[in-house]
Symmetry: D2
């Protein structure tokens, strides 16, 4: 089997998480979120966020988490503002629209939303004489790190959040890969800071060491009334809630979550350098996803030995490819890549 850099969800659970599942398996527990591990995990997350009153809910996957949470915090006719490249706008099969909400798009800069563009959109809506015939922006959606692997600076998020508050719009942060974002060299904040600069965010588990599971956090404890039933109604409530609870209980027990991020980002930085040494163009990213430009010939050669994904075609001969690291990436994997890279420039 080829060494794979296809994704951060093509391996199982990181060993510590798996062990906790094993250790707790025989114990009986309540269900639907009332098990003791879920409660413990919620408490640990509250501490990590320095938010003793935060509400925390566990869901199974990312698309589900985005659709269920956004639907709950949006009023029925409101829309969500996101950049064109946002995951909810491109790669979630219209899950947000399936709940009846429009996505209002903004241009992006390296995958990031600019506070300036957001201010312009919100101000224009408020000034529009036809605004009662239009979708009102209700929530702003950003991802940390972005779909292109870039990381917002604290000042950038703060600027966006200030715009949001000035216009009474909520800020939602999709943290599907939050571990890797917080571990990026350019990241100048931690989870507690993030919790203080948005209205709701989710901590990704599936892509950051768990078998499944995401934790939705309302730092102020102000989730919408009936949010539990809403989760059930959207088919997102796990009967054996312990499955996710146990995993997050471990991820946040002793800094494991951040360690997973740090290690994978370190691997990604090494991978990045290898690519650059091989003379390849690598797009800006200091997280666990690296985007590399390859000619079709180069890609074909590399694909003989290494597994990775086509991201986007540039022209008839070249495309951008994605290489992803995770907790499971080892030095041996990088060695295999290094070896394979030698072949691609050879005749």
């Amino acid at each position: 089997m080829k060494v794979s850099f296809e994704s951060d969800y093509n391996n199982g659970a990181c060993p510590e998480v798996l062990q906790h599942l094993i250790d707790t398996n025989r114990e009986m527990s309540a269900s639907y979120g009332d098990d003791r591990w879920s409660e413990s995990a919620r408490e640990r997350i509250r501490r990590e966020c320095c938010r003793p009153k935060a509400s925390v809910y566990f869901l199974a996957g990312g698309t589900q988490t985005n659709a269920v949470t956004l639907d709950a915090i949006l009023a029925p006719g409101e829309g969500v503002v996101a950049v064109e490249t946002a995951h909810i706008n491109v790669h979630e099969a219209g899950a947000v629209e399936a709940t009846g909400h429009k996505i209002l798009t903004l241009p992006h800069e390296h995958g990031k939303m600019r506070a300036f563009d957001l201010e312009k959109l919100l101000a224009a809506h408020e000034a529009d004489p036809n605004r009662t015939h239009m979708v009102a922006p209700g929530v702003v959606y950003i991802t940390v790190p972005t779909e292109l692997g870039t990381t917002y600076q604290a000042a950038e998020i703060e600027a966006i959040y200030n715009v949001c508050r000035r216009h009474s719009v909520k800020l939602y942060v999709d943290g599907a890969r939050l571990a890797y974002g917080l571990a990026a060299e350019s990241c100048d904040y931690d989870m507690a800071w993030l919790a203080a600069h948005c209205d709701v965010f989710y901590i990704g588990g599936t892509k950051c060491g768990a078998l499944c599971g995401e934790a939705v956090v309302f730092p102020a404890g102000d989730e919408p009334r009936g949010f539990f039933t809403h989760i059930k109604r959207r088919g997102a409530l796990l009967a054996k809630s312990r499955l996710v609870g146990v995993q997050f209980d471990r991820l946040f027990a002793d800094g494991l979550y951040l360690r997973i991020g740090i290690q994978a980002v370190e691997m990604a930085m090494n991978l990045r350098k290898m690519m650059q040494y091989a003379g390849l163009q690598v797009l800006d990213s200091d997280t666990n996803q690296q985007f590399v430009v390859l000619s079709d010939e180069q890609a074909a050669k590399l694909a003989n030995k290494i597994a990775f994904e086509l991201w986007e075609r540039i022209d008839d001969n070249n495309a951008i490819y994605r290489f992803v690291t995770s907790w499971a990436t080892t030095g041996a994997h990088l060695d295999a890549l290094l070896f394979a890279l030698r072949s691609i420039n050879q005749q």
Copy 2:
């Protein structure tokens, strides 16, 4: 009261239509579309379209017609492709998304979709390795005439329709102001031609002489199974269907529909010339909506005597304003405008 060019829906019914409502009022009839006038109107529309097997349904208003029909012809997860300025994308309060469908946007050229851009989007979707995680384009939406008053050439629609068929996507034409589009000097086709170059379109009544009502036409008689019940379920079925039936029966009795368009467009062309003579910039449009650039000072002066609408601000001192004609616009209205225009450049 000021002379108004605010819209083509700020007057009642055109006299002939009103007379037909009066003449038929005492007669009893079946309901829910089975009245004799609806049947007669359907037959007249089929003849106008040279499509004896066309299916025709009457609904009350434009936003309703777009949402109900698009929802019916789209598969649950499919989206509709439209230009950014499309009415469904901007001014229908998210009615399409409220039925669960995403709008996939394209740039526009003077309000029109270009076949080239459409081809690119459809081809890219088909080639995208992640397409099963994305919204599939199911229908293409264009308006004749466009939201900016411009008219597609036959060759342009044909090119778009060819792209649609090549990619097995349907073409839907929003004809809220169809009478004015067909009456435009640059329009090189009639309703029969249009019926042969799309999969479904609607003939606008509300903005073209009726009190209310739009006629959805499936030229091939291939409406989705259960479309009648679908209309009911979406709250769009009128019990006294005669209300719309009688009006369309008259609009299509002796060329009235097209005459309404011709007269209003003639008035609009005169209005356009007046604006140009007054030294004002007028955007491209050969239909009943004219878009004029005015400074705030000019707009304020003109608004003392004439009613019209702000369309979009350009900068701090200038904006685009909309002036609309209809069957109710008379020479006297234009005289009033001409008189008012004299004031705007005076100190």
Copy 3:
């Protein structure tokens, strides 16, 4: 053409309403509800309800009004409580469910909901240990008069409303045929009383003398935020709002609305007596809909001369048929019926 008792929506507008449409047709007006007739009609309805702060909105038809209003006042996961025979539960093609809300049904007594049954359902829900996994009742829906033509007594509505308030649930009254309900001999309240004993109700126009149109009334002026945009989003906003405004302006100008009800109910009572004299079983109803049991043979004979609708089959040989009067029913129509009735018992 046969004399028809098929429905109260198989004729045009009552003459006074039509005349008002004619008189106002040439006048220009604002749109989307801002026309002067809509404003005047709202004011007249406020007076009729003795509710100077009531909010009034005009929509086109009954199913639309129910679905749009119920959706607006229900929280996303809440359901509406109604009797099994309720129009929304049987004859609106699932329009309420299409907006995502469940209908929780109760048994009925002659079409009416009993306060006792309602209390039981609401109390049971509150006591249910699994209630967070269930649809919460948010609104109670009743019709005045009922689908079976019966009328609630004031004490019955008051009892229901008291239950609603005790459980913090809203009361919505569907008044599609309100004119006929208020005109019933057994009805011991007027519109002002009704407005004081529910949270929202609608005054039916389509079935009570108008060409189309229903008036939603929030007596306390407490419609949900953004209700106007919600109407637009659901495709229920008429551009030429004057169409409905003018009609309600006339219906509530000089007691016309109630007069329409009184006259039609008088005709219905005469019709009822004729049926009973002819030895036929007539179900309880003191409004404009009469339900008569006919054998198939009787029905076939009568149908030769009179048009009426099959309501529900009883067994292989007998069924219930519906006979409806309206403003358009005349003594001559009743004479024709009387004549036709002679035939049915003959060999």
Copy 4:
């Protein structure tokens, strides 16, 4: 901690399933259903069903599976027929209605639908002159075993399925507890027979030994076009699909799934006898859920030592309580129950 009979989802995974998760954890795999265990599990299920062309999809939980699958196989305006006690009708927070579909209810007999009632409903709908204004039945939903623990006989399912086919309506079987249903003494069929007598069913994992996961089976391989994307759009697609794939791969490797059912039902039958020996009334059920009538005093005494759930109150002094067994129930648990039962009749 008290011995618990609260549910079959208050324990972890059965040991064999957990071991397979451990054994496969380090292996890299494809995602979104393309991992090798999911493929292997699908193949095993096809064999179990004797249906080599069956399509099999893995989802995370039961409510999700019902809502996503029913929505996919229903046409937009169609409804699902179910008994009043059906899980989708009572305990899924309106998840089916949230996708826009009405549930049409039938009375039940010990939790079961009767073919006779179904035939009556479907025939009545087809004969109803107003059926185009009504929700059309599109799918029939039954549960095996039922919510009350009872099991359909083969002849009963066959009768229902025949009615379905005669009326061109699909049959969907909710098998959340299928292992226990097939293990019931009264059950005279196996999974292959069931697969041949419905259009789609799901095999419950969460309540039958897995940590999470349900397998939707279309025996004829005729899932709706785009079903994969539909799952994604409804937020039900797991990125690490291996999580469910690995578990079902083990459950169907060597008869484990059925063994889990047999053992739990045996425990339940012992529990049942204990209750009866203690002079308590136990409702009909030969599966892993037993429903016992207790006075409040009895319940309070028992609850000191044993955990179980209130099902439904009978009157002010008595209620029905649910006791559930699973793969994790042992003889020691039953001994604890037996010991506790002694106390309840003592003064």
